[in-house]
């Protein structure tokens, strides 16, 4: 994402924080055991490139997002994938996570 990377370590996960040039902060939550990313979150003036962030999970998310009717905060709940997007112009926030991959004791609400 051509942004500055900052890595911090917590008990249940490692946190990789990237600030994109357009101002949005993206955080990747990495399981220390499997070394896999189990969640990404974003906050800032633009919704980031989710195709890049979600990788192999992007297509199923996009299908669900496209199929949605109505307006308002997005809450896509698929088997094995949750993506939530909210906010308004120039102040967006969202999270995507793999519920079955959350390390023990980690709640989705703390992924910000």
């Amino acid at each position: 994402m051509k942004g500055a990377l900052r890595i911090s370590h917590a008990q249940a996960y490692d946190l990789h924080e990237i600030q994109a040039p357009f101002g949005t902060v993206v955080r990747e939550y990495v399981s220390p055991a499997s070394k896999k990313v189990f969640a990404v979150t974003w906050q800032g003036p633009r919704i980031p490139n989710l195709r890049q962030l979600l990788g192999a999970y992007f297509d199923q998310f996009a299908r669900a997002a496209q199929a949605r009717r109505g307006h308002g905060p997005l809450n896509v709940q698929l088997p094995g994938l949750v993506v939530q997007s909210a906010g308004h112009q120039r102040a967006f926030a969202g999270r995507a996570y793999l519920p079955q991959e959350l390390p023990q004791g980690v709640r989705a609400e703390e992924l910000r």
Partner: protein, 231 residues
């Protein structure tokens, strides 16, 4: 910038005695304030496609900047308290608005994000009239213009839905209302099953308010990132 927005449900303030079918001169009747320079009528409903839950809609008059008498009124414009500027579907526009261009004369188009989708289209110049207020030569996004049918991947890579049609936008356009205006929503009589109301702009300093309207709309031009220009 401070934004002052108050949504007042007058129904909560109306004495219960006024709701009981007495004479229509009691405080409980639902008459809308008489039209004034600073009052803009709104309606709360499901929108032109019926897929909004209690959307707030109004009508905006758009005019050619070069000919102030050449105007059209766009109905069913969503009053969006969380966005900036005026955006109108190309399908709802009949006026040939001039295109905004870069210094090198390339047309400017914008990818605008909402929390649940995006709008893509050229930025054009118009005079906008709302209530008795007018802002001249401000940028307006024309959404879903067939002349700009190629949507860049930087706009689609959020995976969110395109809101470039009447069906997907659920409105003929959207307009941000936070111009130190105050939204007053009046409950309609039960038989009407509709809610209506108005937006009342602060009744002070009309010139300053016009500058604000201009400045807000200009944020389309200067504040939205990234701007995409097409050669």
């Amino acid at each position: 910038m401070h934004k002052f927005l108050f949504i007042v449900l007058l129904g909560a303030l109306i004495p219960a005695a006024g709701c009981g079918g007495g004479s229509n001169s009691t405080p409980g009747n639902n008459s809308i304030a008489p039209p004034a320079q600073n009052v803009q009528a709104v309606a709360v409903n499901s929108g032109p496609t019926g897929n909004y839950l209690n959307g707030l809609f109004t009508s905006v008059t758009v005019c050619l900047p070069a000919n102030a008498s050449d105007c059209q009124t766009v109905n069913d414009v969503l009053v969006d308290t969380g966005s900036v500027g005026l955006r109108v579907l190309a399908s709802a526009m009949t006026l040939p608005l001039p295109q905004q261009t870069t210094g090198s004369a390339s047309p400017i188009a914008e990818c605008n994000q909402f929390q649940d989708g995006y709008t893509w289209g050229p930025v054009k110049i118009a005079n906008i009239k709302i209530a008795g207020e007018q802002a001249n030569s401000v940028p307006v996004q024309v959404i879903g213009d067939p002349a700009f049918s190629s949507v860049p991947t930087s706009c689609t890579n959020t995976g969110l839905v395109s809101e470039d049609t009447l069906q997907s936008l659920g409105a003929n356009g959207c307009w941000e209302s936070v111009l130190s205006g105050r939204i007053v929503v009046l409950p309609a009589p039960p038989a009407a099953r509709r809610i209506r109301g108005f937006i009342m702009f602060a009744p002070v300093q009309a010139a300053s308010r016009r500058r604000k309207l201009l400045r807000h709309s200009c944020r389309i031009q200067s504040g939205c990132f990234p701007r995409t220009t097409m050669a």
